[in-house]
């Protein structure tokens, strides 16, 4: 029979890292991995480049009628960004499963914090791609932007919502089959309200205005998605 109560090991030190710093550690780790391999960034970049080039060749030389230009360009831009996200963001979780590091990660940190850290990483990645894609898109399609400031606001807020939902769904599909198709199918209905609002706000930005209604919707969406993702993280990514 086991020996009677013996002293356990020394108590854990009281100085530790709180949840924010731990999520940051996950984010920094993903960033360090990305800097070494640059696979996600490269795939995002090449997808965006291909899509923008295709669109500009198809549309550019013929020009768009002035009254349709803002609407068509905004829609095309967000469609490209949606598929960009679908191509590059799921890697954050899929890679952990494929390389087998998921167990180690789950052993030391909760799913919610892991999700938070990876969402932050994906968001930064997305913003980086946007910073390159949007100007290139505008230049190639001769699309004049009335208010660059409003556009930045839409990209920052809309991009966040896109990142939160994409990262959460990435956790969900990490262990499923046919991940790529599955991801697009399950993300589309959820992202559509965000994309529509972002498109509307982008059209307004092109016209020089900051449209308050769609932006408020985006902020509300971002908040709701963040809370839901945080609470459901362990249901999405645990065994």
């Amino acid at each position: 029979m086991a020996a009677s109560v013996s002293s356990s090991v020394s108590p854990l030190p009281s100085s530790g890292w709180g949840p924010l710093r731990r999520a940051w550690a996950v984010c920094a780790k993903d960033a360090a991995q990305e800097l070494r391999r640059r696979i996600a960034a490269a795939s995002l970049f090449f997808f965006a480049a291909t899509a923008v080039t295709l669109v500009s060749f198809a549309v550019g030389p013929f020009g768009l009628p002035a009254e349709a230009r803002d609407r068509v360009c905004s829609a095309l831009l967000w469609i490209i960004l949606f598929f960009c996200a679908a191509t590059g963001l799921p890697r954050a979780f899929v890679r952990e499963e494929e390389t087998g590091t998921a167990y180690a990660l789950r052993k030391v940190v909760s799913s919610s914090l892991t999700l938070a850290g990876k969402t932050l990483f994906n968001y930064v990645l997305f913003l980086a791609i946007t910073a390159v894609t949007v100007p290139a898109f505008a230049i190639l399609l001769e699309w004049r932007m009335g208010s660059a400031g409003a556009l930045v606001v839409v990209m920052v807020l809309g991009g966040y919502g896109l990142s939160v939902v994409s990262t959460f769904l990435a956790a969900l599909v990490a262990k499923a089959s046919q991940k790529n198709v599955l991801f697009v199918v399950i993300s589309f209905p959820l992202l559509l309200p965000l994309l529509l609002s972002a498109i509307t706000a982008t059209i307004a930005a092109a016209g020089g205005e900051m449209a308050s209604t769609p932006i408020r919707v985006i902020v509300a969406y971002d908040g709701a998605a963040t809370c839901a993702a945080y609470l459901l993280a362990s249901a999405a990514w645990e065994d």
């Binding site: 029979m1 086991a2 020996a3 109560v5 013996s6 002293s7 356990s8 090991v9 020394s10 108590p11 854990l12 030190p13 530790g16 890292w17 709180g18 949840p19 710093r21 731990r22 550690a25 996950v26 780790k29 360090a32 991995q33 070494r36 391999r37 390389t99 087998g100 590091t101 167990y103 180690a104 990660l105 789950r106 052993k107 030391v108 940190v109 909760s110 914090l113 892991t114 645990e238 065994d239």
Partner: protein, 214 residues
């Protein structure tokens, strides 16, 4: 100092098909608990369930300090685990891996502490080498270091001797010896040589119920 207790109540696990084990119950707080069984008998799954890395089909596992049940982070830090499915970030060095896990776990270790842990498992020579370049034995040693990272009162080791040479085995035996005195170690293995005078034994087999022997 309060002892940390590991208790399983009526654990069963079935993947699609006949159960691996049913109504497995045991309680342990210190010493050496051996988990024996042939390949496929559910040892790895059982240890994963105890480590909260998998869910049982029914039953429960609790980790208690004194009377208080540990949950969430406290529980994560109280239970160390290493097994065949454990893998590290191959692009990072051993130091970077341990440093990351320490931070992610909320208990960042200083550089000296990490160096000491690697030295304890005989990896100090491989300080700056990427884990992708490690041999199986080196990876196994790193797994041991990982399991001990937070000085857990409960240590779960699944096939800890795989791929280890005589030096490696000695390191594991020493770690197990220290752990059984200070807390609890649960060791699962196919190889009887790994079981050094266990205080309790769990026998998993092709029968549905598991024997728990003292």
């Amino acid at each position: 100092m309060l002892a940390t207790t590991l208790e399983a109540r009526e654990l069963s696990k079935a993947f699609a098909g006949p159960p691996l084990f049913t109504k497995l119950s045991f309680r342990a707080e210190s010493g050496f608990l051996a988990v024996r069984g042939r390949n496929g008998s559910g040892k790895t799954t059982l240890l994963k369930i105890l480590a909260s890395l998998a869910h049982a089909s029914s039953g429960s596992v609790s980790v208690r300090r004194g009377d208080a049940e540990l949950a969430g982070d406290e529980r994560r830090l109280a239970v160390g685990w290493a097994g065949p499915d454990l893998a590290f970030y191959e692009d990072f060095t051993a130091v970077e891996n341990l440093r990351f896990f320490g931070r992610a776990g909320g208990r960042p270790a200083g550089e000296a502490a990490i160096a000491q842990r690697l030295d304890d498992v005989g990896l100090s020579g491989a300080f700056d080498r990427r884990v992708g370049a490690f041999s199986t034995g080196m990876k196994q040693r790193l797994k041991i270091a990982f399991s001990l990272l937070f000085d857990p009162p409960i240590l779960l080791l699944d096939e800890p001797m795989i791929g280890l040479d005589a030096d490696g085995r000695a390191i594991v035996e020493k770690a197990v010896g220290a752990q059984r005195r200070a807390g609890l170690v649960v060791l699962a293995s196919n190889d009887s040589r790994d079981f050094l005078e266990p205080d309790q034994t769990i026998e998993l087999g092709d029968r549905e119920t598991a024997d728990v022997r003292r």
